[in-house]
Structures are given as structure tokens and as C-alpha cells.
């Protein structure tokens, strides 16, 4: 295991500071461990390193938010926009909905303008999502076929879309 601070030397020291909720643990090399006692070490860099920077810059950008917005909090977990930006993480799944404008802004930034899921859908999740996505996909296919002037195949796809829209497609689930 490598030192969390310099990411170079071997971590040979395990440091625990604070207690209870304020407890933090670090795995450091001897050099960095010594430095850490003088209160100087950089934070652990992981996957979320960039997002932290980004969110911090977003939070710096918004000193003029209205009081009303600042007070708004997630009913489920108590998070506010401020706490989300500070943690670099949403508080719970419902935060995304509660702060929909902010979450859309953040997602657009970190996912490079991708805003819609096109992957796996949980089996339990309502059948209509699957049908909805399937229709979208077929529509894209349809316009491609029309462009290629493959009208016979296009007619088949159009019928598939119609039957899905009519609700026949739910039988598959």
C-alpha cells in the first residue's frame, strides 16, 4: 500500500486523529507522517479528486444565492446545496430531485453534456421505462431507415413502435 499523501513511498504508519465523528485515519510513509504532525498534508486523491475541485469552484461561484434557496433542504437526508457542494457528494438519491436545477447543472458539467441514462434498467423498475427507451431506440432506427430509403424495413419498425405505444409490448415482462 502506498502513502496517501505523497503517493510515492510505502505506507508504514497508520495515523488516527480525533475521535467519534471527527475521527480520521491515514496511511502514510514516515516522511509524510512526520510532516502531518506539523499539520501539513495534502488530502487523499482518489476518483473524486476532480469533482471536489469542480464543486468547490461551483460553490465559490455562488455567493449571491437567495436566502430562500440556501435554506432549502432535502426532506429525506437534510442536505442543502451548500453541504452537497462542500462534500462533493449528494446526500441521498432524493437530493437529485430536490435540487433538480443544481443537480442538472452539476451532472451536465461532470458528464460532459450527457444528461440521459441509456444503459441497464433494473428488472424491478416499472416496465414503462423499458418500453419508453425501446420506443426511443426504435424511433432512431426508423429515421435512419427512412434516410436510407429502406421503406419496407421502416414499415416493420413503425409497426413495432405502434404496438409498443398501444401497450402490447408489456406482455414481454
Amino acid at each position: 500500500m502506498i502513502c496517501e499523501s505523497c503517493q510515492e513511498n510505502e505506507a508504514t504508519v497508520h495515523i488516527t486523529t480525533g475521535s467519534g465523528l471527527n475521527k480520521t485515519e491515514r496511511y502514510l510513509c514516515e516522511v509524510c507522517a512526520n510532516k502531518s504532525f506539523s499539520g501539513q498534508f495534502s488530502s487523499f486523491q482518489d476518483d473524486s479528486f476532480n469533482i471536489h475541485q469542480l464543486l468547490q469552484s461551483l460553490s465559490a461561484q455562488q455567493p449571491f444565492t437567495s436566502h430562500k434557496q440556501q435554506k432549502k433542504h432535502c426532506e429525506n437526508c437534510g442536505s442543502t446545496v451548500e453541504s452537497i457542494l462542500k462534500n462533493g457528494k449528494f446526500g441521498c438519491a432524493e437530493c437529485y430531485e430536490t435540487f433538480s436545477e443544481k443537480s442538472n447543472e452539476i451532472i451536465t458539467k461532470v458528464q460532459l453534456f450527457q444528461t440521459e441514462h441509456n444503459g441497464k434498467i433494473p428488472q424491478k423498475s416499472s416496465a414503462y421505462i423499458k418500453v419508453k427507451k425501446e420506443i426511443e431506440q426504435l424511433r432512431a432506427e426508423l429515421s435512419g431507415l427512412v434516410e436510407e430509403q429502406a421503406f419496407e424495413e421502416a414499415a416493420v419498425v413503425r409497426d413495432q413502435i405502434k404496438s409498443l405505444e398501444a401497450g402490447d409490448g408489456n406482455g414481454k415482462d
Partner: protein, 342 residues
């Protein structure tokens, strides 16, 4: 589960040039519960009970019962993340240690599947069917528009991180990594040293992975990653043939020097050892050394500090300075493996 031993899937893997192993990670959360950084222990108990029930064919590891060394070993085997050693609670690991689940890492559930001879598609299938198993018992946080909801918006959507570990000594020594990496960033992929963030990562080992998780399907993400991987491998092989054709003496010199050092050194740092192992593996790939000279993937893990400390403990050796003892034991291990002076 044998804590101090190399994972079976690693020790059984066939060694090939450049490509080392692949990994799939899925991030999932349970609806209504606050994400791990805010959730209280007792709020998780229902989920944990369900997981215990569902994952009865897995080894259940209670992180709170582990010593620092054991947690570090799991990190070195890539079974848990460094973050997880601090506030992780539970992990479930399968028999050959290729599939693991972390409970309450950054997300409630992180499923991981690793393999050396399996394709990313096959690994995704494994992870995804395990995901289905869990989903049948848990209520996942899923949104029509955004897909699987995660604590950090960098994982939202598919929750998928697909990655491939690559040994890139020629690109690395030829200072080509930065250029390759800049190109990848434009496609939403990254190439990073797997051990440390220094300019030249340990053993010239890199990890190629997707950065975006939203917008594309799992299959499409994996497909793009495979294409990019093939291109990087091609470039590495090209650089190697330039090395072979235009700098033969220099290449042989550094390869055989490394071989000599690991055969005869009595104390060695992690960095130096990894560098020489990388050179020797390159020598094997170029046909200068026989194939059975080293098992690269295995040795890169065995020289890590927690593995060495485990060896020291099992030998009951006494020492004054741990750091020095580790460096000496590392050299001994390497001499043993490469057939040097004992």
C-alpha cells in the same frame, strides 16, 4: 480465504505481453437511505441482513475485525479501495477472489469483477448477473432520466467503471504516455498509473478506464474502451519494435542489468524492484529471456509492503527498523523467484 496469498485468479492467469487484467465496477445505492457518508450504522442493518442472506456463497469480511496489515493486503490485491480501509464495514469476496462487493464505500454497494483471461464483456456479465441477484432483494435508487443514482455525480447513470491494466514500458520510456493520455481524455477515458500518481508510475503499469458513466450503454462504453485499448497496445508494440530495431544494445543492457540486480540484490525499495521487474517482463516479451523467468503480475503484488510484512511475520524475524527489514525481505523474495544467490 487465504489472506496473505496471491488471489487464485491472478496465480492461475496466463501471462501475455502488455495486457494484465481487466476490471468492472458497478456502483449501486438503496432508495431512501442517505448515502454512506451520511448514513448511520443502524440504518444499514436491513440492507446488510439482506446481503448476508443473498450472498451466502461469498466469504464475508468484517472490516472492523481486521488489523491494518490485513486491510492493506486486501487493497494490494485490489479487492477493496484505500478509502474503504478507513470507513468500510463489510466486504463479500468469492472463492477465487475475482468478485467482490464493498458495502458502504462511497456508495452503498460496489460490485467488482476482475479477471485476466476474461473479456470486459464477460466480466460485465458476471457483475451484472450478481447485480440482478441483489436487485431482486433490494430497492435500488434508480431514476428514469439519470439512471442509477450515486453519491458522486461522476458515477451516475450506469455506475460503471470499466478498466484495463496495461504494462506500457516502451511508451513510458519513450515519453509517449502524456500524448496518448491527452487523446483519451477527449473521448471521456483516462490513462493513469495504477500505483501512485508520480510522473512514472510503479512498474510502468497503467490503468485505462472510462470517465463518463452517463449517456452511453454499458456495452457501448466497453466497446469504446476495447477499441482504445487495442490502439494503445498497438502503439506500445510499435515502440517496442523501434526499441528492438534501433536501440538493441541499450535495450538489452537495461533488461539484463535489471535481471542481474534482482538476482543478486540484498535490499531493494518497492520503486526499484517494480522498475526492474518491468524491464525483465519487457525482456521476456521481446524474447531475450525465457518465458518462465518471472510471473510479472504476481510479483508486482508480492513486492508490495503488506505482502512483504506478512512474509516477515510468518518468518518470525526480528528487526530494528521495519522499513529496512521490508527492503531486505523484498530482495530475498525476488532472489528466490528469479533463482539468484540465496
Amino acid at each position: 480465504m487465504a489472506m496473505g496469498k496471491i488471489s487464485p485468479w491472478v496465480s492461475q492467469a496466463k501471462e501475455i505481453p502488455v495486457e494484465m487484467s481487466s476490471r468492472i465496477r458497478l456502483a449501486r445505492n438503496v432508495r431512501e437511505l442517505p448515502f454512506p457518508h451520511l448514513v448511520e450504522d443502524d440504518e444499514m442493518s436491513g440492507v446488510i441482513e439482506t446481503l448476508n442472506d443473498t450472498l451466502d456463497d461469498f466469504n464475508r469480511i468484517d472490516l472492523e475485525e481486521l488489523k491494518f496489515e490485513d486491510k492493506a493486503l486486501l487493497v494490494e490485491k485490489h479487492l477493496i479501495s484505500p478509502l474503504f480501509t478507513k470507513r468500510g464495514r463489510l466486504s463479500y469476496i468469492n472463492g477465487d477472489e475475482s468478485v467482490s462487493i464493498m458495502v458502504n464505500e462511497e456508495d452503498h454497494i460496489r460490485i467488482q469483477a476482475m479477471g485476466a483471461e476474461l473479456s470486459l464483456d464477460e466480466l460485465y456479465e458476471n457483475a451484472s448477473s450478481l447485480d440482478d441477484r441483489l436487485e431482486s432483494r433490494l430497492d435500488y435508487a434508480f431514476d428514469d432520466k439519470y439512471g442509477f443514482l450515486t453519491a458522486c455525480p461522476t458515477n451516475i447513470g450506469t455506475g460503471l467503471r470499466a478498466s484495463v491494466m496495461l504494462h506500457l514500458p516502451a511508451l513510458s520510456l519513450g515519453n509517449r504516455i502524456q500524448r496518448v493520455s491527452n487523446n483519451l481524455n477527449r473521448f471521456g477515458f483516462t490513462l493513469r498509473g495504477i500505483y501512485g500518481e508520480g510522473s512514472v508510475p510503479l512498474g510502468h503499469i497503467y490503468q485505462l478506464s472510462n470517465q463518463l458513466t452517463l449517456g452511453q450503454s454499458e456495452e457501448d462504453i466497453i466497446k469504446s474502451l476495447n477499441e482504445l485499448k487495442a490502439r494503445i497496445i498497438e502503439e506500445e508494440i510499435e515502440m517496442r519494435s523501434i526499441m528492438h530495431n534501433e536501440h538493441l544494445i541499450k535495450a538489452k543492457d537495461s533488461i539484463f542489468r535489471s535481471y542481474g540486480i534482482l538476482k543478486h540484490a540484498y535490499t531493494i525499495s518497492l520503486k526499484e524492484a517494480a522498475n526492474h521487474l518491468s524491464n525483465i517482463k519487457l525482456g521476456v516479451d521481446l524474447g531475450f529471456l525465457p518465458e518462465n523467468t518471472i510471473r510479472f503480475q504476481e510479483l508486482v503484488q508480492l513486492i508490495q509492503p503488506a505482502f512483504i510484512k506478512m512474509r516477515l511475520n510468518s518468518l518470525d524475524k526480528e528487526y530494528v527498523s521495519l522499513e529496512r527489514a521490508v527492503a531486505e525481505e523484498r530482495a530475498t523474495l525476488l532472489r528466490e523467484h528469479i533463482g539468484g544467490t540465496i
